[in-house]
C-alpha cells in the first residue's frame, strides 16, 4: 500500500469512525465529519451541474451554435434567483408556474396509466383454488379489498365490517413487516461495507 493510499484511506477510516461516534453522544468529531459531507456533496453537485447542464445546454448552444432560443429557458432559470430579494421575489412565480405546468402535463397521464390503471388491472385477475397462481390472485384481491375497507371511515368498524377491516389492517401489517425487514437488510448492508473497508485497511496496514 502506497503512502497516498495509506493517507486517503486513513482519512476515510477516521471520518467513518467520526460519524459512528454520534451513536455514543454528540461530539466535535461527528460535527466535523457531518459538515464535511454536506459541503463536499454541495460542491460536487454544483460542479457536476455546471459541466453537465450549463455547458452543454446553455453555453454550447447559445455561444457556439447560435441557438438563441435556448436563452428563454435560461432567463426563466435566472429569474428563480429573484427569490433572494423581497422586492422582486414575485417574479420567480413565473418560472415556478412554467415548471409546475410542464411537470403536471408530463406527470398526470403517466401517473394515471402506470400507477393506477395497470396495477388495478393486475389486481383483477382470475381467482380460484385449483392452482397456486389462482389462489395467489384471490389473496391479492381479498387483501386489497380488506385494506380499502380499513380506510373507509364513514361506517363504524363493528361486526362483519369490523372483521373485514381487521383483515385489512393485518394485510397492511404484513406489507409494513416486509418493508421493515428489507430496511434492516439495507442499513446492515451499509454497515457491512464500512466494516469490511475498515478490516481490509487495517489488515493491509498491519499485515495481520
Amino acid at each position: 500500500m502506497g503512502t497516498g493510499e495509506i493517507l486517503w484511506n486513513g482519512l476515510a477510516l477516521f471520518l467513518t469512525l467520526s460519524i459512528f461516534s454520534i451513536l455514543y453522544k454528540d461530539n466535535p468529531f461527528y460535527k466535523i465529519a457531518e459538515h464535511l459531507v454536506v459541503g463536499v456533496s454541495a460542491g460536487y453537485f454544483a460542479i457536476i451541474l455546471y459541466y453537465n447542464s450549463f455547458i452543454p445546454k446553455v453555453w454550447v448552444p447559445v455561444v457556439h451554435e447560435s441557438k438563441f432560443l435556448y436563452i428563454l429557458p435560461t432567463i426563466l432559470g435566472v429569474l428563480m434567483w429573484t427569490r433572494f430579494s423581497r422586492k422582486w421575489s414575485w417574479v420567480s412565480r413565473y418560472p415556478i408556474a412554467a415548471y409546475m405546468g410542464i411537470g403536471m402535463g408530463v406527470a398526470i397521464p403517466v401517473t394515471m396509466q402506470a400507477y393506477i390503471l395497470v396495477p388495478l388491472y393486475a389486481t383483477m385477475q382470475p381467482i380460484g383454488f385449483t392452482s397456486m397462481a389462482l389462489f395467489n390472485n384471490l389473496l391479492v384481491a381479498a387483501g386489497v379489498l380488506c385494506a380499502l375497507v380499513y380506510f373507509f371511515f364513514s361506517k363504524e368498524h363493528t361486526g362483519a365490517f369490523g372483521g373485514v377491516a381487521k383483515v385489512g389492517i393485518w394485510t397492511l401489517m404484513v406489507g409494513f413487516g416486509a418493508g421493515f425487514g428489507l430496511t434492516v437488510m439495507g442499513r446492515v448492508s451499509l454497515l457491512i461495507e464500512r466494516f469490511t473497508f475498515m478490516r481490509d485497511y487495517l489488515q493491509k496496514l498491519f499485515g495481520f
Binding site: L23, N52, E193, T196, R199
Partner: protein, 274 residues
C-alpha cells in the same frame, strides 16, 4: 427495578455495540450460508441470458455512494455478464452523485474486458431532472446527450450509428436508490414500452413488488440479498454480496432477538399494570 422494566429501559448503546459485534465477528470467521434464488431475480438473469451478441442494453446507474454497498455488486455482476456475452452497453446516470459511481464502474469493467469506448459501450453521462431526460431519450438520445460524459459528440462514435431511441434498445436495467425508478416504470415502460428491470436498495424493494404482478417490470433485485442471488446465478468470481450474506444472517438473528426481548418487556409491563 423489575427484570421487565430493565428490558424496557435498556440503554440504546447496548443495542449499537451488540450490532457492531454481530457485524464485526462474522467478518473474521470463515463460514458460508446457502443462497436460494428467487423468481424475480432469475427472470432478470434469464432475460439477459436470452440476449444475443450485439444486442443493446441501457444501463442506468442512478445511485449515490450511500447506496454503493447494495447496488454496486449487482451492477458489477450484470455488466460483467453483458460484456462477456458481447452485449453493447449504453450507460447513463440520472442521480446527482451518480457520475462518479458510473465512471468507476465503466473504467474498471472496460479494462477488465478490454472493451472500447464508443464501440462496445458508451457512457452518456448525467443530466438533471430524470423524468424529462427519460422522456426525451424516448424520442432521441441526442436531445439530452448530444455528447458523451467525456465531451465527445455521440454522432462521431460507431456505437451510436443507427441508434435513435428506446426502439433500438432491448431493455433498461436500472439500478435505483430513489424515485427515478418510478420514472423508468411510468415514462420509459408506460409511454415507450421499453422493458425495465430494476436493481433496488433494500429499503425500496417492498414498494416495487406489485409491478412484477402487473408485468410492468421484467424482474427486480432487492438489496444485498438480490445481489447475492444474482452472483449465484451468474456464478460470479468476485462474490462481494454473497460474502456479506453471512453477516446479514447473524445480524438478522440479533435484530429478531431484540424484537422478542422488547416484546417480552412490553407484554410483562402491560400485564403488571392490569
Amino acid at each position: 427495578m423489575a427484570f421487565y422494566e430493565k428490558l424496557m429501559t435498556m440503554d440504546r448503546r447496548v443495542v449499537y455495540i451488540t450490532m457492531a459485534l454481530a457485524v464485526a465477528i462474522p467478518l473474521f470467521v470463515p463460514f458460508q450460508v446457502p443462497i436460494h434464488t428467487t423468481s424475480e431475480v432469475k427472470s432478470v438473469y434469464d432475460f439477459i441470458e436470452s440476449l444475443k451478441p450485439g444486442d443493446r442494453l441501457l444501463i442506468a446507474i442512478d445511485y449515490d455512494p450511500n447506496a454503493m454497498a447494495e447496488l454496486h455488486p449487482m451492477a458489477l455482476t450484470i455488466c460483467r455478464q453483458c460484456f462477456a456475452k458481447g452485449i453493447k452497453l449504453f450507460f447513463v446516470t440520472l442521480s446527482q452523485n451518480g457520475p462518479g459511481m458510473a465512471e468507476q464502474l465503466v473504467s474498471r469493467l472496460s479494462k477488465e474486458f478490454n472493451k472500447k469506448n464508443g464501440v462496445d459501450y458508451i457512457y452518456l453521462g448525467y443530466k438533471p431532472y430524470p423524468g424529462l431526460v427519460i422522456l426525451s431519450m424516448g424520442q432521441n438520445f441526442r436531445i439530452s446527450f448530444p455528447m458523451d460524459y467525456y465531451g465527445t459528440p455521440v454522432d462521431s462514435m460507431p456505437i451510436m450509428q443507427g441508434i435513435r431511441n428506446y426502439d433500438d434498445m432491448k431493455a433498461v436495467i436500472a439500478f435505483e436508490a430513489g424515485w427515478v425508478a418510478d420514472s423508468w416504470i411510468g415514462d420509459a415502460n408506460g409511454r415507450y414500452k421499453l422493458p425495465v428491470a430494476l436493481g433496488l436498495t433494500g429499503v425500496m424493494t417492498a414498494d416495487y413488488y406489485p409491478y412484477i404482478q402487473s408485468k410492468q417490470i421484467i424482474g427486480l433485485m432487492g438489496g444485498l440479498k438480490g445481489a447475492a442471488e444474482y452472483e449465484t446465478l451468474a456464478k460470479a468470481k468476485d462474490r462481494i454480496a454473497s460474502r456479506g450474506m453471512k453477516v446479514q444472517t447473524i445480524t438478522h438473528i440479533v435484530v429478531i432477538l431484540f424484537i422478542i426481548v422488547g416484546n417480552i418487556g412490553f407484554f410483562m409491563s402491560r400485564r403488571k399494570k392490569l
